[in-house]
Symmetry: C2
Subunit: 361 residues, 2 copies
């Protein structure tokens, strides 16, 4: 179970999904440079780079594959120069996670039909990396010895309404249990109930399985996707374009996990946050004594508490009488919006598109 041994296992692969556009973090996250490519915490490494660094002790470097939108291939290559060009898969269209995973799984099977793999998003925060490492080693061991689709379920620390939850069933071994149900995002009252029972875990979007298990699961549960990616003419740019244009846009949860009978959850606790919202970023960032969070900028705050400042470059921000706001400046776009209106940002992005075209997206 030590990293060194694991690193030497040539059957283990990792798929890093990094094709999202991160519009909920607009304007800090932009179409041209979505959030996974940003040094969110001012550490010198982007979220994508942190994801790569985190997985590297457990998977051979040559077995790490990034799947991204074709428009981000050069960004990925620039941020991860260690990746071989053939390890960057360029999606010709946005089709959510199921087609992405189906394609990557076929790609890996062609390289190694005995492969096991972990699928990780590139834009999450994980603070306790050693515990993450132990967890994925336990997961690899499990899926390599069982025909299992394994998802990591995060032990909840608050009644979060922004996540889907997994209800666990009977224990199997170690931290691994059968999945009873996947749930939609709950309301506040329901989230409190989930937390109190101890049976519900956050759905992290991190998966482990063998290519055999996942490809069989696609065939059984999502034949419309399985057939597209098992077609003989998949090879080449044209073939990939045809495949993606024939696919529905659907998540792996809907397409496979909620239907398959062999779905398991490993319950884990390694300081995880999906950084899906400004509030999540605020909650996970160190605060100053006024409970303000600043990102890479100098702030003078008067009568102002509970704000998150995300301002690019060496800029001074002076605010007075702002409470619980997002202040995000990305050079040519400034957003000042209450944290509890952050669900409206997508609409604002749409309004900006209608009024100004693609210029500010």
């Amino acid at each position: 179970m030590e990293p060194n041994k694991a690193t030497q296992d040539p059957n283990r692969y990792c798929v890093i999904m990094c094709g999202g556009i991160g519009s909920r973090f607009w304007p800090y996250s932009r179409t041209q440079r979505p959030k996974q490519f940003i040094d969110f915490f001012g550490t010198g490494r982007s979220l994508l780079q942190m994801t790569y660094d985190r997985i590297l002790p457990y998977v051979p470097a040559e077995n790490i594959i990034a799947v991204t939108n074709k428009s981000y291939v050069s960004l990925v290559a620039e941020q991860l120069p260690e990746l071989r060009p053939e390890n960057i898969l360029a999606e010709p269209a946005r089709r959510n996670t199921a087609p992405c995973i189906a394609w990557a799984s076929h790609h890996i099977r062609a390289l190694n039909p005995d492969a096991s793999m972990i699928v990780v998003p590139s834009d999450h925060l994980i603070t306790r990396e050693a515990e993450f490492g132990s967890a994925i080693l336990e997961g690899f061991e499990f899926v390599e010895h069982n025909d299992a689709l394994l998802t990591l379920g995060i032990r909840p620390t608050r009644p979060e309404t922004g996540y889907g939850y997994i209800q666990v069933g009977e224990p199997v071994c170690g931290n691994i249990l059968k999945v009873k149900t996947f749930t939609e995002k709950p309301n506040r009252e329901m989230a409190r109930l989930f937390l109190s029972t101890g049976e519900f875990f956050w759905n992290s979007g991190i998966f482990l399985w063998t290519v055999r298990s996942i490809l069989r699961a696609f065939e059984e549960n999502a034949p419309e996707i399985a057939s597209v990616f098992s077609a003989p003419d998949l090879l080449g740019e044209k073939g990939v374009e045809r495949a993606f244009s024939a696919c529905p846009a659907i998540s792996i949860d809907y397409a496979v996990m909620e239907k398959a009978p062999n779905v398991y959850v490993e319950t884990v606790s390694f300081g995880w946050n999906d950084l899906g919202t400004w509030s999540a970023l605020y909650d996970n960032s160190p605060k100053n004594r006024d409970a303000n969070v600043t990102q890479n900028c100098s702030v003078l705050a008067y009568n102002s508490t509970g704000n998150i400042f995300a301002v690019s470059g060496d800029k001074l921000v002076v605010v007075d009488s702002l409470k619980d706001f997002i202040i995000a400046d990305a050079g040519d776009v400034l957003l000042v919006c209450p944290k509890d209106h952050e669900q409206d940002i997508k609409q604002m992005v749409n309004d900006a598109r209608v009024k100004f075209g693609e210029k500010f997206l």
Copy 2:
């Protein structure tokens, strides 16, 4: 009284005062480019240039003199390429308006002892230029035939607490009356009273007199300044430096106007605002249907009214739930502050200096 005749009067001079630093408009107005040098209304001309354009029909071009701080000489020369270099007087130190006017008056006397002159600030807004023209022609006529110090008093349109007022005495001729008293800025109740009596006018800081009258008034009322600028060693950069370092920093109102017996006011009404504050700028700018004012930028405003946006460059600003705020962005500094806290901006500038040095000033 037509401009053409006046333009040909070689005895008429204009002194444009343009040495202020405009810190109340920080960060839109910066030490390196104070407000008079900014194209405040997006018209293509700065406030200084608008001031020059406004005076040009009434004073021969070669008789227009700009007095500025030495650090802004190149800005003045750049914005007013029509000015001869010798018509830009560079103050070596900030000493308020009295030393500035004393120096300029001595300078003009050396050129033409029979000169009359108008002194104008460079950072005010005047919307009805034809009425301004008629007013200053009436003023020139009056001071050229009387030993008079004339100030323009603006007929008030609201109970403004940000201005000094002039109470008028007995009428003399046309729109010209004796001055009864100069007042300090009143409180709201007093300002309402001032407005209701019809006897009080806003002190515009625009003056007319002959060089003979003003220099005699300096000798009689501010000998400590008069003696400095009538000294024989004034000539040359060193002499000017000595003179300014020997002067107190004092306004022309305190030094001369409030003491001299021959002070008159011409009551005028030409759409004047001293643009002394963000609120004044807000009040004088066209508003959209949400009562927001935007300066040179694109704004998407949600649940937001009564704001003034002053953002440099081609920037999109998106705000939600801001009411009656100043949103000012100057590239490396962003200010978000309630309009009714604008008197605190000077303190914020001081705080920025203490914390970050001169960088953001």
